[in-house]
Amino acid sequence: MTHAAELPAWAALAVTVLLLLGAGLALTGAVGLLRLQSFYERVHAPTLGTTLGIGCVLLASMLFFSLLQTRFILHEILIAVLVMVTTPVTLMLLARASLYRDRIEGNEAVPPPRRSQTGENSNG
C-alpha cells in the first residue's frame, strides 16, 4: 500500500470508515441469508449489501482515487446506477417466480391468486 502514503489522514479515515461500513453491511446481509427462516424473509437480506453496502464501497473508491490522482474520478457512479436499477428488477422477478412456484404447489404460506388473474401479467 505504498501508493497510499501521500493520502491525507482525514481521507484515510473516511475511506476506512466507508469500507468497513460497506463490508459490514454486506456481511450482515449474508448472515441474514443464513439465519432467516423462509424464502420470502431471505429475499430482504441481500438488499442491505446492494443498497448501502455497495454504495459505501463505491464512495470509498471514488474518494480514494480522486485524491490519489488529484482529479475527479466519477465512473463509480455507473456501477451505483447499474446496481440501483438492476437489483430491484432481479429481486422482483425472483419473488414472482417463487410465488408462482409456491402457488402451483399449493403452498399454504402464500396468498392465493386473485379471481381476476388469468396467469397473464403486464408488469415485469
Binding site: A12, L20, R42, G49, F65, I73, T90, L94, Y100
Partner: protein
C-alpha cells in the same frame, strides 16, 4: 500513518466480504429450494463486485473497476435469466 490505517481497513474489509461470500455459498449449496440458490448466486455476484472494488483500492489500480462493472452486468443478466427459467421452465418465451 494513513497508509498503515488503510492497509488494515482494506484487509479487514476483505475478510468481512470473504466471510459474507462464504455465508452466501453455504446458502447456495444448502438450498433448500431453487429460488434460494438463485438468490444466493445473485448475492455472490454483488459481493464479488465489492471485493473487486476493494482490491482496486488495495493495489491502486483502476482496472479492477471495469471487472466490477462487468460482474454486476453479468450478475443481472444471469439472475434475470434464472428467474425466468424458474417461472416458466424456459428462458426465452
Amino acid at each position: 500513518m494513513s497508509a498503515a490505517l488503510l492497509e488494515w481497513a482494506v484487509l479487514l474489509a476483505q475478510l468481512l466480504l470473504v466471510t459474507a461470500m462464504g455465508c452466501a455459498a453455504f446458502r447456495l449449496m444448502r438450498g433448500p429450494r431453487a429460488q434460494d440458490r438463485v438468490l444466493a448466486l445473485d448475492t455472490l455476484y454483488v459481493l464479488a463486485a465489492m471485493l473487486l472494488l476493494v482490491f482496486g483500492i488495495r493495489t491502486g489500480s483502476q482496472h479492477y473497476f471495469e471487472a466490477a462493472l462487468l460482474i454486476t452486468l453479468l450478475g443481472f443478466v444471469a439472475t434475470a435469466a434464472l428467474s425466468k427459467f424458474l417461472m416458466r421452465g424456459e428462458v426465452i418465451e
